[in-house]
Symmetry: C2
Subunit: 209 residues, 2 copies
């Protein structure tokens, strides 16, 4: 899986980060990495750890938009025209690299050769993000909770090249990720078990279909 600095010399990376005025920051679990991202060009890369992009609306309803892990990118330009309710929250101790998005898109005067490589990496990462977004759209576009769960489970299993996968969400978070009521989801998971579609053995879900 390509990362932003793939195939760039250690030395060149250092130079670039200096040129970008990049800051490496460690966020403790539960801390807010970014909020109110619209109209900023701040941009980040997860170096280690995990984070969630969440929306909490005026009713206090929490929605997990996306789950970020090592190598993932985030920041203003990707949510530009989007409203101001988004935050990025560390879900474990998480190290991020922050800098201004313009440094990626606009070459500086020096026009370093490795900048081309950076842009190519960025392109790949964005293509992957589009893909992931489309996957999620297809999941939550399903009408019923049952179908959403099945589509989610199948997608996870497929990406795992298997008929099973390890849950990386708590069930509470999964409900917020799928934008459904938790208790209704529990009810449906129970149904899926009873109907023999799935089996859950300590945090691993097995698909029988």
């Amino acid at each position: 899986m390509i990362t932003l600095f793939e195939n760039i010399e250690e030395n060149d990376i250092k130079k670039m980060l200096k040129c970008f005025d990049a800051r490496k920051i460690l966020y403790k679990k539960e801390r807010t990495i970014l909020t109110n991202m619209s109209n900023t060009t701040i941009f980040g890369v997860i170096l280690s750890g995990t984070a969630n992009i969440i929306r909490v609306d005026y009713n206090g309803v929490r929605n997990i938009l996306e789950r970020l892990t090592e190598g993932d990118i985030f920041g203003g330009p990707l949510y530009e025209s989007v409203n101001n309710e988004l935050s990025i929250i560390a879900t474990s101790d998480t190290e991020v690299l922050l800098f201004d998005y313009h440094h990626i898109v606009n070459r500086c005067r020096k026009n370093c050769e490795y900048h081309s490589r950076l842009i190519e990496n960025m392109l790949q990462i964005l293509a992957r993000k589009v893909q992931a977004n489309n996957e999620k759209l297809l999941i939550i576009s399903k009408k019923t909770i049952r179908e959403k769960l099945l589509e989610y489970f199948q997608t996870k299993a497929r990406n795992n090249g298997s008929k099973s996968f390890k849950m990386d969400f708590t069930l509470t978070d999964l409900a917020d990720y799928l934008s459904i009521d938790r208790s209704a989801m529990m009810r449906e998971i129970k149904n899926l078990k009873e109907d023999g579609f799935i089996e859950i053995i300590n945090k691993r879900i097995y698909l029988h279909m």
Copy 2:
């Protein structure tokens, strides 16, 4: 709005398209531009016209994933791991340019200078697509039909820099876009009107909030 060949000389574009073995094809309204995209690297640009990316599942439920207009890109690599139920359908007479995605990512031996420009344009387009995807995710992540409609209307109006916007979907298509039942949506639109939230005057929606 950046297009794929922005800032590339007319002549260079011609050379590139030859090198890419690109085909320009006209699809009549309602014709299928692509289906079964997973595991292909076929890639396209809309030159003129409009198209929808749709999913029709085993129950015959139609879902409009995305609406494509001039300058938009589409194709295998963006839906790679996604299932095989997707199709791209022309919604008006539509001219597209088709070629293999590899030509974008992998520079050929000639290593033409304008290829860098192409990749930078592609990066911008992808970033915009990520943004658009996130917008849609935030809309359909709302739990109720009422909230989905309001979020959709507000997003459209905001992108229009206004308190109103022109509908570019039929209501039937809007329901498929938002993944909700059409009749239930009509009911809710009626409620929104009665509650004074919106007003619809021939295909233009005015927000009063």
